[in-house]
Amino acid sequence: MIDFSSIVTAVDCFLESAMPHQLAIVVKCILAAVCALVAYLSFAILMIYMERKVCASFQCRLGPTRVGKWGLLQVFSDVFKMIIKEIIEIKDSDRILYNLAPFLVVMSSIITFSCLPFARGLQVLDFNIGIFFIMAASSFGILGILLAGWSSSNKFSMIGAMRSGGQMISYELSMGLSILTLVVLSGTMQISEITEMQTKGWFIFRGHIPAVIAFIIYLIAGNAETNRAPFDLPEAESELTAGFHTEYSGMGFGFFYVAEFMNMFIIAGIATTIFLGGWAPLYIPGLEGFNHAMCYIPGSIWFIGKTLFIVWVLMWIRWTFPRLRIDQVLVLEWKFLVPIGLINLLIMTICVVMGWTF
């Protein structure tokens, strides 16, 4: 299997030898940022195209077919349209916060994105509290959404932002609980180490029942985190026009849109990393030939494949269920997911202490 850390080390050595240490660090930061941004945008485009095709399939349609072969250029033309649109200055809006909000949302999702391990050694940020950092970084996206609603001086935006705040902060909790369950199983918070451990069996199999329950809770909470149906009440278009981004046009809206799609990818990516083994190939103990064959598929393909599968599952859920009411959303979280998550955490701890995991 290719180890990307050797390539990274090679680049690192080259930069260190070619220029002074300080400059090398700056250049490395810029390189990493550019790579992360390019990957982010390419995945955003892939994601939007996939959403349109999958959504069409679930509704028995074909989706975009006219712009380019199989509608492949549709997303590019949409983005181009978005870029050339005017960004309208809203009367009575809080200029600074209004312009800052989309960047906060995108920034939080890019930081979280750069923590995803695409292959062995292929991740921008990796340190001993990785999972913790992901949770912290992803939750300040809420701040952007609240600010967007607050600053655009529009009651719909305001209600949307408040709903979104209530919903996202609540669901953060059960997401954290389900991640914690897996941290109990793995015994570490470092993302690279978590994945490394799963080369000997994915956690969803090794942690059996509690891991599966945590996985389901994680998917539900993750869906709510990304503000997508059936939890899309922050932007319930039938009630609130577009919720917190009603007043945004052009790229301001574009950022929210891209961030929403990428958050879905990130949620799926984290699910892949902690439950489905990240870039680790499928490992079945006892079948050495099979395991060996699986290792020939590169880790990045495994990671992206598994992530896209989870994204597909999230889209499946999104295009199946109708929107919940705000009280139902909160009841689901506080009366069901949190207690079940807590009990599940307890079960997992008992399993780990008694050595009932594989």
């Binding site: 679930f58 028995c60 349609r61 074909l62 077919t65 499946w316 859920i317 295009w319 199946t320």
Partner: protein, 148 residues
């Protein structure tokens, strides 16, 4: 209290009903798609018999139509789409005078395809056809003469 109403019961009941929903959409995901790709599929295009695309007046082999110029269709039309020009012809045998159709004018541009005219006609002299490619570059071309 039924099991489904208890706290634990709701969890299972909800899971079951959600899975039912997911099953339905999953089936939909793999069925053949209904989208018709119009200009490419012109050869194989299927259009319902009852589709109302354009009013026509069928003529038999000798070029006669069944219209008796009674004007009921033009009276039934809410949009004033149909206008009929008639003349009186005296029948040579009986000596009675009789109305005959000179021109049956139908303005496709103002028709809303409600079919009231077809329903009003006592002789079934008019009907809707399936030729739906009616676009032209000039409004005047939409005013059609239906009789020959």
């Amino acid at each position: 209290m039924k099991f489904e109403d208890t706290y634990i019961g709701t969890v299972f009941y909800t899971a079951k009903s959600l899975l039912t929903g997911l099953k339905v959409t999953l089936k939909e995901f793999f069925t053949r798609k209904v989208t018709e790709q119009y200009p490419e599929n012109r050869k194989t295009l299927q259009i319902s018999e009852r589709h109302r695309a354009r009013l026509v007046m069928p003529h038999d082999a000798e070029g006669n139509n069944r219209c008796i110029a009674c004007g009921l269709c033009s009276m039934a039309c809410p949009n004033g789409t149909i206008s009929i020009t008639t003349k009186s012809v005296t029948d040579e045998e009986s000596g009675k005078s009789k109305k005959v159709l000179v021109e049956y004018s139908y303005d496709l541009g103002s028709c809303m395809f409600c079919q009231l005219c077809v329903n009003a006609c006592p002789k079934n002299a008019i009907e809707f056809s399936n030729e739906f490619e009616n676009a032209v570059f000039d409004r005047r071309k939409l005013v059609l003469r239906l009789n020959r």
